[in-house]
């Protein structure tokens, strides 16, 4: 396993970040990844930045549909209901 024991470079590590966060790295890769992080503040900051980015992305979903659209939606529902009642009645 010569390849597995070689140290990761920072440039290689950034390509594995998602697999690391998703926990899909092979055990040997995971060891190399963790070993690199222990000695590299730059990559540690990079992972932290990625986590922050994901958190910011998650906040985008707090936007909701406008009140007008909401009212329109209920009107649509009532029209649909009336149509169904007419058809079935």
């Amino acid at each position: 396993m010569r390849h597995a024991s070689r140290e990761l470079t920072c440039q290689e590590l950034v390509e594995l970040v998602t697999e690391y966060l998703e926990d899909t790295l092979a055990p040997s890769e995971r060891l190399r990844f963790d070993a690199h992080l222990r000695t590299c503040p730059g990559c540690t900051a990079y992972i932290e930045q990625m986590r922050t980015t994901i958190r910011v992305l998650g906040k985008l979903s707090e936007e909701s549909v406008s009140e007008d659209a909401r009212r329109e939606l209920l009107a649509t529902f009532r029209t649909w209901k009336a149509d169904v009642a007419k058809r079935d009645g």
Binding site: T9, V17, G42, A45, Q49, I54, L57, E63, R70, W80
Partner: protein, 215 residues
């Protein structure tokens, strides 16, 4: 996360039956659960918020017209997401015909590196592949700046510049918080493909956040 609010199968069946019977509370319940997610999905395909809201309206109309034929074999949530996805895609391609192509789909290098190669030391250096300009910690960035309207604008713009496949995945995974297997299911892609698209998308968005914070 929205995915944790998904109703149990019994709840779902009751909701579907109530909706078929024209129960307005059931409809409101469903809207409360899924409308934010539907809006985010629509935003992934169309160029403006106004159009995204129209797509959501159309999708709900589609839900009402289709509820009679909805089969319990598929999950209600998956079914709803497919409806909005299809309408948003159709609308997105209609809009693309009226807007110059380059605006919608910039010429991104789709398989490029996650981080600009210039940030790393070259092969002749004693530490090839290591940072020249290491990323800095953002732990000191105030929350108000991190979650500011301006930040959201930058992130939205970065999302807008992603290739569609990447935008779909990152919207479902990170904006909406869906687990990987659900995203694969909704988009009909493999786990590996999902991960590759997510990785590219996150890398681009991180770079945009970095540019904004460190400008």
């Amino acid at each position: 996360m929205n995915s944790t609010r998904a109703p149990s199968p019994t709840d779902e069946l009751e909701l579907v039956l109530a909706l078929r019977a024209g129960d307005e509370d059931a409809f409101t319940d469903l809207v409360n659960r899924y409308e934010a997610a539907m809006l985010q999905i629509a935003l992934a395909y169309v160029p403006s918020r106004a159009i995204a809201e129209e797509v959501v309206q159309e999708a709900w109309l589609g839900v009402l017209h289709g509820i009679e034929r909805f089969e319990q074999r598929s999950q209600l949530k998956t079914w709803l997401m497919r409806i909005v996805l299809n309408r948003a895609k159709r609308r997105g391609s209609e809009e693309a015909r009226t807007i110059p192509f380059s605006v919608i789909q910039p010429a991104w290098n789709d398989s490029g590196p996650s981080v600009e190669p210039g940030r790393f030391r070259g092969p002749s250096n004693a530490w090839p592949g290591h940072w020249v300009s290491p990323p800095s910690s953002w732990s000191g960035v105030p929350e108000a700046r991190l979650l500011s309207g301006e930040m959201f604008e930058q992130v939205r713009r970065a999302l807008g510049e992603l290739p569609t496949r990447q935008r779909e995945v990152i919207t479902l995974r990170d904006v909406l918080g869906y687990p990987a297997h659900e995203v694969c299911n909704v988009l009909a892609i493999s786990e590996t493909n999902q991960r590759v698209l997510l990785h590219r998308a996150r890398s681009r968005v991180r770079a945009a956040v970095e540019r904004y914070l460190e400008q």
